[in-house]
Symmetry: C2
Subunit: 132 residues, 2 copies
DNA sequence: CAGGATCCCCTAGGATACTG
DNA sequence: CAGTATCCTAGGGGATCCTG
């Protein structure tokens, strides 16, 4: 089976992988898997270069605070590039870096999968037929 | 580019994708991306059938509470199968379901990527490989 | 428009103890 | 061994107001 291959290969290189408590990958994973990161990342993967207000609209439900916070760590991690244009009114563009694109390449299938299975898994499937 | 393809295709089918606030996929994503789920899932992907105590050891740092909680939602979601053997002392086995394996197939590359880039991104050195 | 700065609530999650 | 049951706190995250 495929996965075991990959993981086993990794464990040969680094016996403790992500499983070790102090492993930096856990921190990175926490960044990336935090509530809003996937949404922002995918929005950028789909939309290319986007502005703050666009991102707010796309990631439906983000508060300004969380969007700011999410973007900041994403930028700090080098996954998203921020470009501020010194005009009035302010104009700031966000886009994926190459590294960020690597990530969304992996993240995207996951979200597609989640989207496809969420209904069945969570039992919220739209009732096919009603009889009352 | 690849990602945009996938996401765009999805948006054609379902205009609001994961981006919509009420989308069930968000809930599933939150389950799957919660702090310990990836670790547990990957441990099972690598280890096959594992017992509670094994999982505790592998996902270094989980508290009993969190392991229990994580496993419960994973089982409820049909991603992990739980088999309790009515012996003394108790013996309970956990393993991925086919659905769970689908998920780890997608999760695994992500964690490998995280592991490989964490050091550079966070500005830390990865834990040295141990020769025991 | 793109955020800081604040206040505050809620719960994810840790520590510890107990049980079938 | 494989969990529950409690208690408790840091901080994730929302709402609101403020500013360059």
């Amino acid at each position: 089976m495929k996965v075991s291959h990959e993981v086993s290969a990794l464990r040969q290189r680094f016996p403790d992988l992500v499983f070790e408590a102090g492993c930096p990958s856990r921190v990175l994973l926490d960044h990336v898997m935090s509530k809003w990161s996937p949404l922002v990342l995918l929005a950028l993967a789909e939309g290319g270069t986007l502005r703050w207000s666009e991102l707010r609209r796309r990631a439906e439900g983000v508060s300004e605070k969380m969007l700011a916070q999410t973007l900041r760590t994403l930028v700090d991690d080098g996954l998203v590039a921020r470009e501020a244009h010194p005009v009035v009114p302010p104009h700031v563009d966000y886009a994926l870096t190459p590294l960020g694109r690597e990530l969304t390449d992996l993240l995207s299938p996951l979200m597609v999968w989640a989207f496809d299975h969420a209904g069945a898994i969570l039992g919220v499937e739209p009732p096919p037929a009603r009889r009352d």
